[in-house]
């Protein structure tokens, strides 16, 4: 029995070593390559398993001669916006869905949950049109109701509203934030709370909003922090939507900036060492976050208990 367990443990350790190596290999190769100079890379003919001493040079190039630092800031703002919208909007809505009596509960829940099934990437073509003029629906409304003709008769000009969110932080963040997975997670959490909570709060003289802010919010800290960080990372790694919604380099997040950097100069061999330094640069914040907070995230997303 002991002998057999040992064999199994050896196999299990082997599997884990293989898994860790598979995960680490690309990161290690990226790091090693980032230590090469461009000349070493071009003449050396590719991957070499040794550390050279040009890492800071490449890193300095990324810092001072590319737009990545400014774009890193864009990423921070966009990701914070995504995370905030996803958490705040879902929190208030889920509170209403769970603690209010309403015939609309089921319908609203269904409406929000559909967004989880169809990611933004599927509908970028038309989302682009909407974000290019977010007031378009109001124009339609005016058209359908005939109000525009009325206004035209009164003022002499036909109203046409326009407001473009392209290249703005909110324009990039808002469509990403539509995916309402949070509603699902918070709902599960709220339902696990004692049923008499709101009744007790009412006896203490607290109304629903008071109850939400003073009692529910502190109780929900664990799932809120976890989802916030998870959506922050989700906003950070988004690519297709920011790629088209933010076309000017000043508005692009770092991930898009890195991909653009990879083909800025088509007439020479790409500066792979610098690109690898750039890839590490745009990834360190979310990797650090998930490395340090993984226990909180796993616990808060309610993945462990079911």
């Amino acid at each position: 029995m002991i002998e057999r367990t040992r064999t199994v443990n050896v196999v299990a350790t082997g599997i884990m070593i293989a898994g860790i190596l598979f995960i680490l290999a690309p990161i290690v190769i990226a790091f090693l390559t980032a230590t090469l100079s461009y000349e070493e890379f071009v003449s050396g003919g590719g991957i070499r398993l040794r550390v050279s001493d040009h890492f800071w040079e490449n890193f300095a190039h990324v810092l001072f001669e590319t737009r990545l630092p400014a774009q890193l800031w864009n990423s921070v703002v966009i990701s914070l916006l995504v995370a905030f919208i996803k958490c705040a909007f879902a929190f208030t809505a889920t509170f209403a869905l769970v603690f209010y009596k309403s015939r609309l509960n089921t319908v609203i829940f269904a409406i929000t949950i559909v967004t989880v099934m169809l990611p933004l990437e599927l509908i970028v073509i038309t989302t682009y049109q909407v974000v290019a003029n977010v007031l378009m629906p109001i124009n339609w409304l005016l058209g359908w109701t005939g109000l525009d003709a009325l206004i035209e008769r009164l003022t002499g000009s036909r109203p046409y509203l326009e407001y473009s969110l392209l290249d703005s932080y909110i324009g990039v963040a808002a469509p990403i934030a539509t995916s309402s997975t949070s509603v699902f997670i918070y709902r599960q959490f709220f339902m696990s709370l004692p049923k008499d909570l709101p009744r007790a709060a009412t006896m203490d003289g607290a109304g629903p909003i008071r109850f939400m802010i003073d009692i529910l919010l502190p109780l929900s800290w664990t799932p809120l922090v976890a989802t916030f960080m998870f959506w922050f990372i989700g906003g950070w790694t988004a690519y297709l939507w920011p790629l088209i919604a933010a076309s000017t380099p000043d508005a692009q997040p770092a991930v898009v900036g890195l991909a653009r950097l990879a083909n800025t100069d088509p007439d020479r061999i790409p500066d792979v060492p610098m690109l690898m330094a750039g890839a590490l640069f745009v990834s360190f914040i979310p990797v650090l976050l998930i490395g340090l907070m993984q226990r909180q995230i796993v616990r808060g997303l309610n993945l462990s208990e079911k």
């Binding site: 682009y128 290019a132 003029n133 000009s157 036909r158 046409y160 509203l161 076309s247 007439d267 020479r268």
Partner: protein, 450 residues
């Protein structure tokens, strides 16, 4: 339109100003704002380039704004030709579009039919448009010879050879014909050279520029200049022979594709390959690598063919519809400014593009700049654009052409990888291309080609 430019600058305030009408935009705004603005205006110019070219464009804008006080042009980079076009489409649909926009060669037809642009020749009838070099002019003019957009950043195809490598096998002249290229390539190969000729597959190299300089059509109706009912014909012409030649030359080890060599499409720069057809812009990377060993010449043609002009690549500037007179005054001033000889020469020097008018080229050649590295390709490149043209070397005027380029690349790549016969590949590409043309024709039903 000043309310629009303001709206872009300050989105927070813009909410109050968004109430405006399309009519108002077209006519009333002119009356309302023209009074205070006299004939000066602040307009936007959208462009797609990034990197060094973007810096040159910004410098040119700054120079324009400094040179006169009447108008202000703000140049807005959109991060690429495609995003710029996409933005312009969305902006036009909600009438927030700029007065001037730069766009790349392959989108010419889309813009011509859009109804969203007005021709520069109509905008400025007093300019000597015939000063533009043949290949540049014909690409952007209508079938009746009206120039639609002003050529701006122009490049074209030339031939590069590494004369050190060619010298090793006793060749001292850059080859002019494919027959010569192959002879030299055999010598190089026999001398142990791994990559005598680098050949790009992209249709700009293997189809468009090739057909133009041989005076061959790639589609009926003179490549679509004669009407939207054009059909692809390249699959039965010289292109088919050429691609089959490329395939057998590749099998023989004379030609290499970018996918065959470590340096990819830059294998000439890295010194792997001895000869290559490439854009004039490639010189900026090739010269630092090999210095005086580089020779450039007109791209090769087959023996027995009359040489025609090559096509212009790069971009041109378009004027969009729906703005008032003051805006167009500013646009005229800017277009005139960038056309000046010294501006063209300055721009070419900073970017590696070429001057696009004959007088600018003459001014360059007469100046002491002509032997500087930055201008080395100008004479050869413009020389290639100025070869006698015919109805098949004017340009490409085919619908959904960007999509067709992908189709062509896909099919030809499959053939070169041995997955299908080359003739089958070309027939497929032509057939799929025709489907795109028919759909394009249908989308623009009732619109006649200018």
């Amino acid at each position: 339109m000043s309310c629009i430019t303001e709206a872009k600058k300050n989105p927070m305030e813009a909410e109050e100003k968004v109430m405006k009408s399309t009519l108002y935009a077209a006519g009333l705004a002119a009356a309302a704002f023209a009074a205070s603005a006299a004939h000066s205006a602040e307009i936007e110019f959208w462009y797609g380039n990034t990197g060094a070219v973007e810096e040159a464009i910004q410098a040119q804008c700054a120079a324009f704004n400094a040179a006169q006080s009447e108008h202000v042009v703000s140049c807005v980079g959109q991060g690429g030709y495609e995003p710029a076009m996409q933005k312009a489409i969305a902006a036009y649909r909600s009438s927030q579009h700029p007065v001037l926009i730069q766009f790349f060669d392959a989108g010419t037809l889309d813009l011509m039919l859009s109804g969203a642009v007005r021709s520069v020749q109509d905008l400025m009838s007093d300019v000597d448009w015939d000063d533009y070099v043949v290949g540049a002019r014909s690409f952007y003019e209508t079938s009746t010879g009206e120039l639609f957009s002003q050529p701006y950043n122009g490049s074209t195809l030339i031939f590069y050879a590494n004369m050190d490598m060619l010298g090793d096998v006793g060749v001292s002249e850059i080859p002019q014909t494919y027959e010569d290229v192959v002879t030299v390539a055999r010598k190089l190969k026999d001398n142990g050279h791994e990559c005598p000729v680098l050949q790009r597959v992209h249709p700009w190299f293997s189809l468009e520029q090739f057909s133009a300089r041989h005076g061959e059509a790639i589609a009926s109706n003179n490549n679509g200049y004669g009407g939207l009912d054009a059909e692809f014909t390249f699959n039965t012409g010289l292109v088919a022979t050429h691609l089959q030649n490329i395939q057998s030359w590749r099998d023989e080890g004379l030609f290499r594709l970018p996918t065959d060599v470590a340096g990819g499409k830059n294998a000439f720069v890295t010194g792997e390959c001895a000869m290559v057809e490439n854009s004039t812009a490639h010189y900026a990377a090739a010269f630092p690598a090999h210095g005086d060993a580089i020779a450039i010449g007109l791209p090769p043609i087959y023996d027995g063919y009359q040489r025609h002009n090559t096509l212009i690549g790069g971009g041109s500037i378009w004027a969009m519809q729906g703005h008032d007179d003051a805006d167009y005054d500013a646009a005229r001033a800017f277009l005139n400014f960038v056309r000046q000889n010294d501006q063209q020469i300055e721009f070419a020097g900073r970017t590696g593009y070429m001057p696009v008018t004959n007088s600018a080229l003459a001014a360059l050649l007469a100046s002491d700049k002509s032997d500087q590295l930055e201008y080395a390709t100008a004479a050869v490149g413009v020389g290639s654009l100025n070869q006698p043209g015919d109805e098949n070397s004017r340009g490409i005027r085919l619908g959904f052409y960007v999509q067709f380029r992908d189709v062509y690349t896909e099919e030809v790549t499959k053939a070169l990888n041995g997955e299908q016969d080359m003739q089958v590949a070309l027939d497929n590409a032509a057939k799929r291309g025709d489907e795109l043309l028919r759909r394009f024709e249908k989308t623009y039903q009732g619109v006649s080609l200018p």
